[in-house]
Symmetry: C3
Subunit: 158 residues, 3 copies
């Protein structure tokens, strides 16, 4: 029953993590295919582009995971998992855009800043709510969760 409660509080986060792992596997497969192509046909530019996109995604991956899990544990899991899912969609778009022709508008080094910022804000609100509750006994968690649920919908605006 104890293990049931633990899974109850994190299962949405686990699902988003699983989707992100599948996406990582998809990225890695793309890199491996280009890597094999390179050995035979020396298309360096395509390989370099895919490899660079993969590296930028991988650089940001631990940061994303850490922020999402902290936000989910400290405040509430539903908006955190939703924001994580939005981040994965943004990352997919970024990767596909990077693989395209260079004549297109090339994406920069960073992406998904808004989602990371939202998750960071969730963490800060969750921690300060905990500290308030501990020192003053006032609990605003109900209100904060409702506001966060509503605010997470704003991430859908492009």
């Amino acid at each position: 029953m104890d293990s049931f409660t633990v899974v109850e509080n994190i299962y949405l986060l686990v699902i988003v993590t699983l989707i992100s792992v599948l996406q990582n596997a998809f990225f890695a497969q793309k890199v491996e295919r280009e890597c094999n192509c390179q050995n035979t046909k020396t298309q360096t530019s395509a390989f370099e582009r895919v490899s660079c996109a993969n590296r930028n995604c991988m650089d940001a991956y631990p940061t994303f995971l850490a922020v999402m899990w902290c936000a989910g544990l400290c405040l509430s899991q539903a908006p955190a998992a939703f924001a994580g899912f939005i981040y994965l969609v943004v990352r997919q778009k970024y990767f596909v855009g990077y693989m395209g022709q260079t004549s297109q508008s090339t994406p920069g080094y960073l992406f998904g800043k808004r989602v990371i910022f939202f998750l960071l804000l969730m963490c800060i609100v969750g921690i300060s709510n905990f500290l308030l509750m501990r020192h003053y006994g006032s609990d605003y968690k109900e209100y904060v969760e409702t506001i966060t649920n509503a605010a997470s919908a704003l991430l859908l605006i492009p």
Copy 2:
């Protein structure tokens, strides 16, 4: 006593994580030694090979950690920690193989796909078992854990 229960459920995962950290430190030391050699003797090829092997290992590291911990938390820790240990052995082999001569069969970009796939499957089974238990009240966790324990032995087949 509460902290005792928490550690009870994760101590095998923590041990595997510690071993992986020691392995990371070993890899990093190899890179640093080659980096210092490069400054004096300009053996670029050896440095590049070690650096590339290290980078591929590090790219896959957060994914591995996330999947192992999710599988351990959602289903049961013993097979997850065992699979994680197998992954570390595969990674060690990959790194050593990468550092060898280029005349050898060079390892690709990916490694340990089977272990990651097994851990991913464990997560999915754990999550779907939780959802079944929540919505229908049927608990197959006992059976699933027994099957998983048996299945994890299959990873030993090379």
Copy 3:
């Protein structure tokens, strides 16, 4: 109330994680600025240096997070979070030192080895204390926590 207890045990770790995420964002912004500069003025050396510093920091980031959280969960969070904070200060120094002129003493590939080693030791002590408690019923956690708190102050020595 259950969620309150969870946050109680991890809130210092979450705060350090948040600071590290802010620092990552700072590093990424530096890289992006140099990346944009490079397109117009072709200052490859500055871009390469910042990019290399960022990559070394990012390579070590998952390892650091894993060790800090394990140490915090297995033993006690206050010294783990303190050591994590020290690590972030060391990393900031490393990054700034890397961006400086090459005539300066260039920092190597590794940094913060002492802090990582301290956190690793905390994990090992925590795990062995747990195993002792489980098999022999003797609990030295009180003594160990006091010693760890005192020992963490030693990290301040440069």
